[in-house]
Point group: none
Chain length 399, copies 2
């Protein structure tokens, strides 16, 4: 059954606040519940008790989402229809505008041994000052034939590389071997049309090695996720809503930019992100992103993830007061169970709090309770129309 | 939302054991639970308690699946996209290779009265020896113009008929009236292109009547399910997994063959099927089929179906030990409630047991408990990606 076009039904209505706890979902074992189940979250529990609960599946059964697809689905974009490469996400996060025809990759500064094998994929977690020095030098000295390469420092060892020139094609394989003990991989064209681009990437990698040869900290560059700009239809045209984004981490601001959200801040930390909600009062839809749950999950640290969730819960009353939203949704973009120390395919708990939405019998926020909630287990893509409905923003369909 | 292409995400990982209790699902009444609910299944209950549970719907709401669609969905093939005719299934079960252009049907040896009406659709459940005699005679004496007919005995009254020749088309209606008291139906072309094939089927049926006219046990042949070979994309190409099939009954081995599984055995009985698991250790995905629950359900014998389920449960510890799988799934290909004495559309209980998958609060295996499991109520087609995820066999989707 086809999805109904929201734009054709959109009308003015209430304000929506979408709080995304990155990596919120977890996995229960015999010994313990999920991080959210174990966390002490009186404020989230109150919202759950007063509202509706359920479970969201970001991309599909068994599919572990990257951050791109996880957020796209929450913003109402089919994550199987719009593919955002790592390079494009990095560019968006840095506010680097890609032109049609550009290709971009995420780069890691790394350390390579004398025998050519990668010994540290993150260059010993090089600090920002030294990393910027390396990036500036690459920007000055790398010279490619007919292609302009630009290097943009992100954070720590992370670099964005953008190529601009005629005939570029992003279908080039990664040079990052994703493990130490192996040499960087040669970039291969994944389509014949990308042969020249692959050659340019090989030349760039070679020059980087030569230019950085004297450094002990970072003497190599690994590249992955070559991708070109993606045209997301603007969120406002699809929903009638002026959207704002508040996120400490650049990638999530970038994602919101791609959908045409107004990006506020950037906030330096959690408290600043809360304070920024005051500036979002003129917006109809506010995406508020919280990274700490995912970061702790990726580290495999269940206690830290529990603590991160509790930190958010403690801020919730202030968040709600400042946001002054009619509809509040709390969920995650994907699961990051500490037991797996990685993103996973497990469904993510959801709560929706709105006078018009009603309530179910679930009294606590957590997987084992939300599973029996009124919102059921459904694709994340189904959330946005339900939030718009709860805000009175969707007219009746059909006569 | 489109399904994500599993092949693009597949990687090496753990071993998966899929145990299919044919016809597992049941229907509860005021007086009693389903057969699975009533069965004493301590081993299945333990797996359910330690793992995840849910319900699977093989084809769609209200749709009663044949064995073909029921299994295709469990193997990850959309059962609405690939149609396996009865004739093709019979051929696969017998190991009869169909060439492109062949058409095949399932035949019933039957008994026809002097007035031309069918009096027994199964020729008095004719035994294998006499049935083979009949089939051999048909093979020797039936002669069609420009078409070669081959007859292969299955079991009892069941026969496979294959036509080979130029211009054949499977769109021909059944001659089996599916009831006694009526004459065999004339084969009709369901498409103009199948006119010659329908004529050949009519001629074949007529010759069979003439050839068998003197017999008291089987003097007619009813044909149904004309179909041509189907090209299923190989399971290994779709999933990266080497798959093995263990099944006592030929049709299920045939189904697995069509998907490119390596078929082990055949085992003579349940114990042999359990022992064969030792030979499947080199495979990534093992499909292990158990027929007895369905057979009892088809007979309308609830007690026998309960007993069949309990027999399987008693073998479970040995099965699990021999299989040495990282991921275990137990479910059915469809429901066969004894109260209906037939396949039905009712959802089928499912359990998935794997360290990475987690657990829910369900403590017993059975419809009334599995309905509140974490895996929800979903199409059977969604199972395979979840098993691959639990085995660590699917990479992250998107950046």
């Amino acid at each position: 059954m086809a999805a109904v076009d929201l734009a054709s039904l959109a009308q003015d209505g209430g304000r929506i606040l979408l709080i995304v706890l990155d990596g919120l979902g977890g996995v229960a074992s015999a010994a313990r519940g999920t991080e959210l189940e174990e966390a002490d979250t009186p404020n989230l529990d109150r919202l759950a008790a007063e509202g509706l609960t359920g479970m969201l599946e970001p991309v599909g059964p068994g599919i572990t989402p990257g951050s791109g697809p996880g957020h796209l689905a929450l913003f109402g974009y089919d994550p199987t229809a719009y593919e955002l490469g790592r390079g494009v996400l990095s560019a968006a996060g840095l506010g680097v505008r890609l032109e049609p025809g550009d290709v971009a990759a995420r780069g890691n500064l790394c350390r390579v041994a004398a025998d050519g094998t990668v010994v540290d994929r993150r260059a010993g977690r090089i600090d920002d000052v030294r990393a910027r020095e390396v990036v500036d030098r690459l920007q000055r000295e790398v010279r490619l034939d007919g292609v302009r390469a630009s290097f943009h420092h992100e954070r720590g060892h992370r670099v964005l590389v953008v190529l601009r020139g005629p005939g570029l094609d992003p279908r080039v394989s990664d040079t990052d071997p994703q493990r130490t003990g192996s040499p960087p991989l040669p970039p291969r064209p994944l389509n014949p049309a990308a042969a020249a681009t692959a050659a340019a990437v090989a030349e760039l990698s070679e020059q980087a090695r030569t230019i950085l040869a004297g450094r002990a900290d970072a003497n190599g560059l690994l590249l992955r996720g070559w991708s070109g700009p993606v045209d997301l239809p603007p969120f406002r045209a699809r929903t009638g809503m002026r959207a704002a984004a508040i996120a400490v981490y650049p990638m999530y601001r970038g994602l919101a930019t791609l959908a045409g959200f107004e990006v506020l801040g950037p906030p330096a930390d959690l408290d600043a992100a809360v304070a920024l909600l005051d500036d979002a009062r003129g917006h109809d839809f506010v995406f508020w992103h919280y990274k700490d749950a995912d970061a702790a999950g990726e580290d495999g640290d269940a206690e830290a993830k529990v603590a991160a969730i509790e930190r958010l819960d403690a801020r919730l009353p202030v968040i709600l007061e400042r946001a002054a939203a009619d509809v509040i949704a709390v969920t995650g973009d994907h699961a990051t169970p500490a037991s797996l120390a990685a993103h996973s395919w497990h469904p993510v708990p959801l709560l929706v709090h709105a006078a018009r939405a009603g309530r179910d019998e679930v009294e606590r926020f957590g997987e084992r309770w939300c599973r029996s909630g009124a919102l059921g287990l459904r694709p994340s893509l189904t959330l946005l129309p339900q939030l718009m409905a709860a805000a009175g923003r969707l007219r009746k369909y059909g006569a």
